[in-house]
């Protein structure tokens, strides 16, 4: 099933989601444009500390870092050889360059630092809360509504998909690499779309019956408390510090 990250109670969980989103966004921007290894290492350590403070279970954390690092691993197979620079050692006709190794290390650090921060955010904020926070941060209402509807129905349609898949299994369908398999999957996707389309119309009509006027209301009110101000200021200082270190080349 599609599961949200398990979230235990933590200090970070109780913070205002708007502050968290802004902090993670600024952090990601600074790290994405940083280039110095020392700065990136600091960012990685910061990400790790925040993820630990958000009390993300280690097993879950590792599982969620795997897909990112698979792509990074793929680039590690190329970048040390294809990046021009001073050769360090030769493997057959290929030369591993110092610059290539540094570059690959850099993107590894960057990726993981940014992922840790994102995981901390996701683990400490329910997705529906995130939607309301996005709205108060100025994302257009139509996009936020689309986000809510999509999120709400992913689970419903995933169950529908499971039912279709099971009924195919019961009828003895085994997927192979042939035209029959692809056609069957295509009809299944088509059926999924038809059912979703019909469901969409029913949901819309039902909402109209209940007086839907184009507004979704949140029961949770956001309030920026003292703790929020302190943590946002603290995090912003650290992010600015990272930026200054990158710019001034001080460590």
């Amino acid at each position: 099933m599609i599961e949200e990250l398990a979230n235990g109670d933590s200090f970070i969980r109780r913070l205002d989601p708007r502050g968290k989103i802004v902090v993670v966004f600024l952090f990601s921007m600074v790290v994405a444009s940083a280039n110095r290894l020392q700065v990136l290492l600091c960012a990685l350590v910061l990400g790790l500390l925040i993820v630990l403070a958000a009390k993300v279970p280690v097993k879950e954390l590792v599982r969620r870092l795997i897909p990112v690092n698979m792509l990074i691993l793929f680039f590690w197979l190329f970048l040390p050889f294809t990046f021009g620079g001073e050769p360090l050692l030769h493997i057959g006709p290929l030369a591993v360059t110092r610059e290539g190794l540094l570059y690959a290390t850099r993107i590894t650090l960057k990726s993981n630092a940014m992922m840790l921060m994102l995981i901390a955010l996701v683990a400490s904020t329910p997705i529906s809360t995130m939607g309301h926070a996005m709205h108060t941060l100025g994302i257009p209402q139509k996009i936020v509504h689309l986000f809510f509807f999509t999120y709400r129905y992913i689970h419903v349609i995933y169950r529908e998909y499971f039912r279709l898949k099971n009924s195919m299994k019961i009828r003895g369908f085994t997927p192979k690499t042939n035209l029959h398999t692809y056609k069957t999957f295509a009809y299944m996707v088509g059926m999924l779309l038809v059912r979703s389309f019909d469901r969409g119309q029913r949901v819309h009509n039902a909402m109209l019956c209940r007086g839907f006027k184009g507004n979704l209301y949140s029961l949770s009110k956001f309030s920026f408390k003292k703790g929020d101000i302190v943590s946002v200021v603290f995090m912003l200082t650290l992010i600015i510090l990272l930026g200054v270190l990158e710019w001034k080349k001080t460590i």
């Binding site: 897909p67 986000f147 949901v203």
Partner: protein, 204 residues
């Protein structure tokens, strides 16, 4: 075909985000408030479809279906794909905040282009062969274009990415054929069962 966080250069990220913002703006202009429940549920169906794995020889690949999204939604593919990718980042941490713009552009622009090239064949009254070849073309070309755009984003970041980018496009060649076949069969199915989905009229 996601590019994860921390790989692309800031210039590519900003350019991608700006173009995506423009695309989403056009898509939202075409999107009526009344259509949002249906659109959201269709987006959810596309999201679930990308979780389906189909066998391709010894391995299995997941569906992308941006060609089908383009045929059905047109410019509204931009907001639909934006929301889908945002949810993938939040639920599975595939992609992230800074890459959302580029990744949306790489998936949604081919969808819109395919809508304009192949969308005409879906109008009522076209023959079976035309429908099959157009839908196949949409499925095939959208993945091809997305692959090239992903490769191009990497190339703009650094020339050293070129060999890796080429291999990524080449590895997607079987996926293009699979997507083409699936899109064609799916469009034929929808034509028979619920043609109004293809006709772009999503409000009752």
């Amino acid at each position: 075909m996601h590019i994860s966080e921390g790989i692309l250069s800031p210039a590519v990220l900003i350019g991608g985000a700006a173009l995506t913002a423009a695309g989403v703006a056009v898509g939202m202009k075409n999107l009526d408030q009344k259509e949002i429940p249906t659109m959201g549920i269709l987006s959810a169906a596309f999201f679930v479809s990308t979780l389906i794995h189909v066998p391709a020889g010894p391995v299995s690949v997941h569906l992308i279906l941006n060609g089908l999204v383009g045929l059905i939604l047109g410019w509204k593919a931009f907001p639909a794909i934006l929301v889908g990718l945002a949810l993938q980042a939040l639920l599975f941490q595939f992609g992230g905040m800074t890459t959302l713009g580029v990744n949306t552009l790489n998936m949604a622009l081919p969808a819109v282009v395919c809508h304009y090239i192949f969308g005409n064949a879906l109008k009522p009254g076209t023959g079976r062969t035309v429908i099959i070849s157009s839908a196949f073309g949409a499925g095939f070309c959208s993945v091809l274009m997305s692959g090239i755009m992903v490769g191009f984003s990497l190339y703009l970041t650094g020339e050293a990415f070129l060999p890796a980018a080429k291999l990524m496009v080449a590895a997607h060649l079987p996926v293009m054929f699979i997507e083409g076949i699936l899109t064609a069969a799916c469009v034929l199915f929808l034509r028979k069962v619920r043609p109004e989905i293809l006709e772009g009229d999503h409000v009752s």
